[in-house]
């Protein structure tokens, strides 16, 4: 493995997100272990790892929702723990557990989110209408969120994160449960946003999706970064040829294939 190629990369235009030896423990369990990473402006950055790798914990720390045990985070040069309001005003977040009020309608949720982010009432309402149309929820905007399907809830949560046009967007498994057509439409808009300077920090455990849409990727395993860079850089770093997929890189980086034995009754 080429250590230099696996070192943290810097995006063009300076680092929008910087993690420096970031660590978070819960009792005896280390969820994030000395994570060091930079993400540049306008990147569509993929944060890839299996369940329990520490992706969600990292995003929560970056959004100021969890306090790091040690290490530093800088979002636009600011510490989200010391300057929470300034950081939160610039970011949007779609957490895995979906930050929605189930007893509000989809429309009410979007308007409320807009008002939370400082939009005036008329602008919030107009943008909510626009978002409902774009997300394919115009017929369901009057239903309570509790009556939505998982995909509809995801779309509503995405709308809440986008309504204030954030400069940095944290997406934690945003497409699980969303229909493929909607995913395609949302991806196109997100790519357009990155061309206009918005940075997207996209966390997922679905390698094919990350490989298709992200410009740079970090592979996280058991709380620490095992590889970071573009697909070509990582292939080169791990000595893999052109058709090698992100999954191949992941297996090489992590070095721990799933045990083939252990549940023989499954295939008996």
């Amino acid at each position: 493995m080429d250590e230099a190629a696996v070192a943290q990369g810097r995006g063009e235009g300076g680092a929008v997100v910087r993690f420096d030896k970031l660590t978070r423990t819960f009792g005896d369990f280390t969820a994030v272990d000395s994570l060091t990473l930079d993400v540049g402006e306008g990147e569509f950055f993929g944060f890839l790892g299996p369940n329990g790798a520490g992706k969600s914990t990292t995003i929560k720390m970056a959004a100021g929702l969890l306090k790091p045990t040690s290490g530093t985070i800088r979002i636009f040069g600011l510490d989200p723990y010391r300057h929470p309001m300034e950081v939160k005003a610039q970011i949007g977040l779609v957490p895995e557990e979906l930050a929605l009020y189930e007893r509000l309608t989809g429309f009410e949720s979007l308007v409320f989110a807009g008002r939370l982010y400082g939009l005036d009432a008329a602008t919030a309402r107009q943008r909510a209408v626009d978002l409902l149309g774009w997300l394919g929820l115009e017929e369901d905007g009057g239903k309570l969120v509790v009556d939505y399907s998982t995909g509809m809830k995801k779309k509503t949560a995405l709308g809440c994160a986008l309504i204030h046009r954030p400069r940095l967007l944290f997406l934690d498994e945003p497409f699980s449960g969303v229909d493929p057509l909607a995913v395609r439409g949302i991806k196109e808009v997100l790519h357009q946003m990155t061309r206009e300077g918005t940075t997207i920090f996209f966390s997922s455990h679905v390698m094919e999706l990350v490989e298709r849409i992200c410009t740079r990727v970090a592979i996280l395993h058991k709380g620490s970064v095992r590889a970071v860079g573009t697909l070509a850089e990582m292939r080169s770093a791990f000595g893999l040829a052109e058709p090698a997929t992100l999954e191949d890189i992941f297996v090489r980086a992590v070095g721990e294939p799933m045990a083939e034995e252990g549940a023989p009754w499954l295939t008996a």
Binding site: P84, L116, V129, G142, W265
Partner: protein, 556 residues
Amino acid sequence: MADGVMAGGRRRRLRVLLELQLRLQWRSARGRGAAEALGASVMLVVVGLLGVGAGFAGYLLTEAFAQDPAGPAPALWIGGAGLLALLLYAGLFGGGAGSGFDVSRLFHMPVAAGEMVLADAAARFLGPWSLPPAAFFGGSALACAWEGHPAFAALLPAALVLWLLQAHLVLAAGDLLLFNLRRSRRLMEAVGLLGTGLFVALLFFQNYLATRLVHGLAFGGAMRWLTHAWGALGPFLLLLPGLSAVSWVGAGRWAPLRLAAALAEAAGLLALGRLLLVRLMERGSAEGRRRTREGRREAERTSARPLERLAIWPFCVKDFRYLTRDPYLKTALMGILLYPFLWVLIATGPGFDARGALLHVGLPLVLLLSFANLSTNHLAVEREGLLLLIGSPAPRWRLLAGKNLLLMGLYLAVTAAVEGYFVWRGVKPGSAAADLVMAFSMGLIYFGLGNLLSLLMPMPVAPRGRRLVPQVSGAKMFLVIFAQFAMLGAVMAVDLPVILGRVAMLHVGSPLLAALALPAMLLYGALIYAVLLAAASRLMASREPAIYEALVRGSS
């Protein structure tokens, strides 16, 4: 074919369900180690004390009836009915006797609905909260044996088993009814009102009967009324669940019939529970289609109404929508709106000193106590929406003030209505305005302190679809309840200048004093609230990660 589906059968599935339910029944705390041990200890101490009390009550009540010509049976009737009422009161409205188990997590499993209901009832049967009723029956059996009714005493264990079975099946069916009500919002509103009415009536009878019996003057009249009512309705009442389980004991030739009725009721309750569970498993809600039409009209309006332009308005309206849409918050709201009036009826009833301190200083405190759960843990009620709140850059004082504004509006509306009633009854003409100002000041301080308590001791609420009962250790629950009462003391201490001013106005009665004192009282309350709000908003900014861990991570 998948393994295990048909193997093992019903008996094995029931055993597995029962083990799971028992584990949840006896697990008192979400914490580990010392917290769980402390919570379990507190719970066992409380249950033990209740058991001792119930045992004594059973003995004394049976002893009182032992020499009656009808024998000790009426003691069982009173005990059986009273214990069932308490169990339902705690289980459905207070949540103390109910389980925290979300049965919907088993819907995709190959488990029959009847098995789930039976396992639920059996687990409650073997849970810690069966100890007090068992102690009551034990005390009663001792008294029967001592007073020369050995045959009676020998039948009581069977009566206990039947009573516990009926009581827990009623509780299980009641729980499922609440689950079902969520799926039909109109029906839920109607039954929520009815449930609140029953709850309030129960409180009324508790307080009304207590004051009347203790006062003594109406004792003879009340007992005559009860005796007359029993004579007319007794044979029918003895067939009700809780009573039928015990009314066959010592019933002579009617014993087989009453026992058969009790067993039939238990079977009927099991069938009812099964039916409710099956209905719960069915999908679909007609309300969704109705909402779509309303929602579209709402979404077409993109201009903002004048009130919407206020920065604090979104927080108030969001909380108001939740209060009127969430089924359990709605029930709490109904209680807040109705409960104080019953205290008024009691306080202005005959034989009660209408000029007492209760009506001036005590009444605002009583009204504020009805807001305790909504105002001292208000961040937890946000549930997953809390992430949206604390992930936003909205000024924290605005967020907290929006919540307080809504509750303050409700509190003042209720207080003004109560004061208006006093004026109409001629209880305190002319002093209502001064009492309202004092109540306003107390309310501001109470809600200001409530913000701090919400931030310092946040408790996760029950998962969606359950009662609004925190899923925390018994120890923490007792601590929070103690803190809520301590807050009332703190309100009185901090608002002492206002209270003293009000007392001075009562004694001096000078219009000039009132003209000077009332604005000063208003200003004092507003200043204290501003200080408390500023402290809470600073605290919130630093406590948000801890609150997130306690409420969102801790409740998932």
